[in-house]
Amino acid sequence: MNGVSLADLTGSLRAKLGSAAAGWLDDALAAVASDARAVRTWFPAAARKVGTAPLDVRDHEGAAPWGADEAARAVMLVALGTRVSQEIEDLYRYGDAAERRAILRSLHLVPVGDAGTALVLDALRTNDERLVAASLGPYAVDHLDDNSFRHAVLKCVFMGLPLARIAGLDTRADAELARMLAAYAHERVAAGRDVPSDVWPLIDRFPPEAELAALADELHADADGRRRAAEAALAQHAAIRGRS
């Protein structure tokens, strides 16, 4: 999957920078180009120097816009060229949350091969929504195995992250993901709770009969709360299906 191009990202960033910030970025890129180790001190300082304003570029429709700090950090990583693989794992390991997000979002722009997958999986193990969202960009679409990708989607559902944030959901959604989401919807109804509405389009692409039947059976549950939750969920499902 493509995501934002380096040219668009750089253009959007440069358009946003005042002269002091632009000068700082030039110095940073020169320092990094002459000595890869310089990235260890320039990279963390980027947010203070170029700000964090949102740019008008996104990796896909529904993704969060890139921030100026993230873009500046991305172009620094690109400036490392092939030396990026010597530095990127340590930058991530010693990085704060914002640095880690920038690294995760940059993975499709730098020549790291498969080495970025471990960073994506690390971010997916956290409970920080911002890291999880940043990890599910164009690189993850191309590198996560099916099981990891499905679990990443489920994790977003659990955390209340809009699924529109996930890159490549259309190409990666499959029958097993639909089954897992329908089972989750049933679980929510059985607990008398509501179901996040953005799971239904994914379920409907590969409707899992057994799980949907079990969910419909909740209309006849003994407990009032379960019956009401089932009615609400099925009404929501019908409304969303009617819209599409």
Binding site: D96, L161, P196
Partner: protein, 286 residues
């Protein structure tokens, strides 16, 4: 009332504490690095600890509307461990350049060993190199001698005294600490160090210039509302709202703002909002 909590080890506290602190007026917290109650055995434990102070803990605080900053250092107790000393000192420059690192700290003395001398001086030099103020822990045992020796080491370092906060003072150390030109910190604890009424008496004696108070909450018996409670004691003791604001907000802010890295509002990263919605409003796990 707005409160800037200049010293709290939130890693050891629950979300109930964050909630109560926010309700009491705490808007900003600085969490200095210290020891964890039991010794660490590898430099890697410090990597994880520093990462937590820069990542997970600010995230937890933000859920209660509190802006979290940290001070980083090798603490005096573990400065005595040869397995940690050099590795952590080598690690620090990588972290001292980061956003929200607003000081070196806690540095200083525990048992006043030669190893502590070396590490203390090395970290004051890092404070100069990275243009950061320094939070100095003063020892519990042999307190007055420890404060005086700390002041000597600060003087020798060349770091201007106004960039140093000497913490954990009491009635016997306050004079030396104030005369040094450093900022003077008091930790208000339930049973040790300093209590609210004694603090009010000291403020009457010394005035409010260069004085900050903190709860220093950690894993021991401590109370995250001690700054708010001391502010109330000041109020009952006849201090004006302006004087209270100076002690619980403007003074600690002025000290840490010397770093140039204090953020009074949660910085809204582009990734945090989508279509005007904070993702933090989403449903929480569990």
């Amino acid at each position: 009332m707005r409160i800037f909590e200049p010293h709290a080890h939130m890693t050891s506290r629950t979300t109930d504490d964050y909630e109560a602190m926010a309700a009491a007026g705490v808007k900003v917290i600085v969490e200095p690095a210290f020891w964890l109650g039991q010794p660490r055995t590898s430099v890697g434990s410090f990597v994880d600890y520093f990462n937590s102070l820069l990542g997970w803990e600010p995230f937890r605080a933000s859920q209660f509307g509190i802006v979290h900053h940290c001070a980083l250092a090798l603490n005096p107790k573990e400065a005595n461990d040869p397995a940690l000393r050099d590795g952590v000192l080598e690690l620090l420059p990588r972290y001292l350049v980061k956003d929200r690192v607003v000081a070196l700290g806690e540095v200083g003395y525990d048992a006043m060993t030669p190893e502590e001398d070396t590490v203390f001086a090395a970290q004051l030099a890092l404070g100069i190199e990275h243009d950061l103020p320094v939070l100095v822990h003063t020892p519990h045992r042999d307190k007055l001698a420890g404060v005086r020796r700390s002041i000597d080491v600060v003087r020798e370092s060349g770091l201007p005294p106004q960039r140093v906060l000497l913490d954990h003072n009491n009635e016997l150390t306050v004079r030396d600490a104030k005369d040094s030109g450093c900022w003077v910190g008091f930790s208000i604890y339930p049973h040790t160090k300093m209590d609210e009424d004694r603090m009010v008496a000291i403020l009457r004696e010394e005035g409010t210039d260069r004085i900050v108070i903190n709860s220093a909450v950690d894993w021991g018996r401590s109370d995250p509302l001690k700054v708010a409670k001391t502010a109330n004691a000041m109020r009952q003791g006849g201090f004006s709202e302006d004087e209270i604001d100076k002690v619980v907000w403007r003074n600690p802010l002025e000290f840490y703002a010397q770093s140039g890295r204090i953020e009074l509002e949660q910085r809204l990263e582009a990734t945090e909002t989508f279509a005007g919605n904070s993702i933090l409003r989403g449903e929480r796990v569990g």
